[in-house]
Amino acid sequence: MSTALAPARTGSDERLTGFAGEPLDQRRYRRMRFIRRFEETLLQLFEEGALNGTTHACIGQEADAVAVIEHLAEGDHIFSNHRCHGHYLAHSGDALGLLAEIMGKEAGVCRGMGGSQHICAPGFKSNGVQGGIVPNAAGIALANQLSGNDAVSVVFIGDGTLGEGVVYETLNMAALWKLPLLVVCEDNRWAQSTPIAANLAGDMAARFAAFGVPVREVDSTDVEELSAIAGEEVGLVRAGAGPRVLLIHTYRLCHHSKSDDERPEREIADRWLVEPLLVHGQRLDEADRRRIDDEVETALGEVVATARALP
């Protein structure tokens, strides 16, 4: 098992993003734990009234972010959506910048302008309007193609976002022009309150394929399985295979934004049994897991304290 994957960004807290030389299993667990605990903390802060606005947590989907993003390199670009914290943290490890941003503080990654849904940092952007980010990511892919570099542009969308027409306009253009674009579609079965059955007719994978964009489909919450596949997909796009889609069937365990959840309790309970931390955590020694949990907790505690104290 290698640790070549996903070196932590310089300056990030290794307790959150991983230590040099740390086994990959542990690093992955650590990163997912980091994202999970960051968001749980966030939801708590919201309840306390320490935050305003809104937020969308990716609890249950952490493996997608970690698995895909560990294959990205300097120069690659990620475009994310309303549910962007996991993607951003997996990319940058910048818990303080994100928390400060959501708190609306000047030290936030966008100085409090963007808040939860509108994040920008080197190699990363997000926007809260469904669908429109897809052509934006394709434009970045076109820029890479014109520049002749081998950078990959990755865009994360949800199942519900497949309702937006501009997604298909972009798939078509990306396929025609063989753009180095990877669309990661996180199908978490629901869009806000709407189940895919009420949102999507036909076949999800076939939709991409029909526009000439090959699809890799996987139903998993296992970061290891996802990473292997994501690595191949990123590699293909990087090698010039043209646009591709990684379609991940997964599940959102938390409510859509803050307190809106009317899904069947049983359905949610079942999915907690295969949540990514549990699935992957089994690969770790109990002791390592505890240690990592503690390190993440301590580090996040410091982040929260620092953020609270910010002007």
């Binding site: 305003n52 606005g53 809104t54 941003e101 959501i102 609306g104 503080k105 936030g108 100085r111 409090g112 302008m113 963007g114 808040g115 939860s116 849904q117 509108h118 926007n127 809260g128 309007v129 469904q130 669908g131 519900g160 976002t161 497949l162 309702g163 937006e164 027409g165 869009a191 806000q192 309150s193 709407t194 009420a198 949102n199 999507l200 809106d260 009317e262």
Partner: protein, 334 residues
């Protein structure tokens, strides 16, 4: 008499009374009942005619257009008014055009309802008041929800006429109590309604003859402005008449003109971004109609023309709120 509830009841009444009424929108079905819960209960009562749609604003508007062309009365909900942008083509090049372009052979009475406005820290793409971009679209009416207008009358106007309309509902109105004129008063203010089913409501602490400023506002800003004029009257004896139209485009300028003819001063208030805004047209029209009779230039109060920040303090610093309204009225009254 919570506005969201009254509005929901209005829609229920419309569905009950008129089999042509159809509601479309994202997440509007039960148990969720819409992001702001306005439609809660309606899909259970009218499963065929209250439909949650995919996330497809263009098609929501476009399908509504088709329904309307076929004689139905679609009411489309836009979850956040920011996404009206995705309906712009259907509204401008389809819905608003059909009747005139077909020489009256068809009508396309779509009602688009949009939850607009800021002050909740939702950030740049979930806080805008984009209705100004829909003002002056030929054959499109734009109507703003307010606490001074009964949504029942508003919708009975919509459903009784053959024209399309954009109805903007400021999010912060949803949890508020409606405050309709009763016996010529709303609370401590004198209140009169002029002009049919979508009246301009006039509010003032003293008769207009004793007012020195006219204030023109709609929606949530009208609620704020009402509080401001009441406070200024009580505490400082600055008397202003507030005019609150329901229909903000095309505008019936007559009540505004009458008021300003008396006061000689006009302040317009809106939450949308400054520049080519609602108040701009007011300033243009009133400056013309009352040329030489204004005591001071019309003052257009609008939000700073930039992105709406997520940070609450930053947001408050650029969006119009009570402070800006009060400052403008004070300055005008000086």
């Amino acid at each position: 008499m919570i506005f969201a509830k009254e509005l929901g009841d209005t829609l229920r009444g419309a569905l009950t009374d008129d089999p042509r009424v159809v509601l479309l929108g994202e997440d509007i079905a039960d148990p969720y009942g819409g992001a702001f819960k306005v439609t809660r209960g309606l899909s259970t009562a009218f499963p065929q005619r209250v439909r949650t749609t995919p996330i497809s604003e263009g098609a929501i508007a476009g399908v509504s257009a088709g329904l309307a062309l076929a004689g139905y009365r679609p009411i489309a909900e836009v979850m956040f008014g920011d996404f009206l942008t995705l309906m712009f083509d259907q509204v401008v090049n389809h819905i608003a055009k059909y009747q005139a372009m077909y020489a009256g052979q068809a009508t396309c009475p779509v009602v688009v309802r949009a939850a607009t406005g800021g002050h909740r820290g939702y950030g740049p793409t979930h806080s805008q008041s984009l209705e100004k971009h829909f003002l002056g679209v030929p054959h499109l009416r734009v109507v703003a929800a307010s606490l001074f207008h009964d949504p029942r009358e508003v919708f009975s106007d919509f459903l009784g006429r053959d024209e399309p309309v954009l109805y903007v509902e400021h999010k912060l109105l949803y949890p508020q109590h409606l405050t309709l004129p009763v016996n010529g008063r709303i609370g401590d203010l004198l209140a009169t309604s002029e002009g049919g089913p979508l009246p301009t409501v006039r509010l003032s602490a003293v008769p207009v003859e004793d007012c020195t400023v006219s204030v023109l506002a709609y929606g949530y800003q009208a609620m704020l402005a009402a509080k401001v004029i009441e406070r200024l009257a009580m505490e400082e004896e600055i008397f202003a008449e507030l005019l609150v139209p329901a229909q903000i485009a095309p505008m019936d300028w007559a009540p505004v003109e009458r008021s300003v003819a008396v006061t000689g001063r006009l302040v317009t208030v809106e939450e949308g971004a400054d520049g080519w805004s609602w108040g701009t047209e007011a300033a243009s029209v009133i400056s013309r109609r009352l040329f030489g009779r204004l005591r001071r230039p019309v003052d257009v109060v609008a939000s700073e023309a930039t992105v709406i920040p997520s940070s609450k303090t930053k947001e408050a610093s650029i969006l119009v709120g009570s402070a800006q309204i009060e400052a403008a009225i004070r300055a005008a009254a000086r």
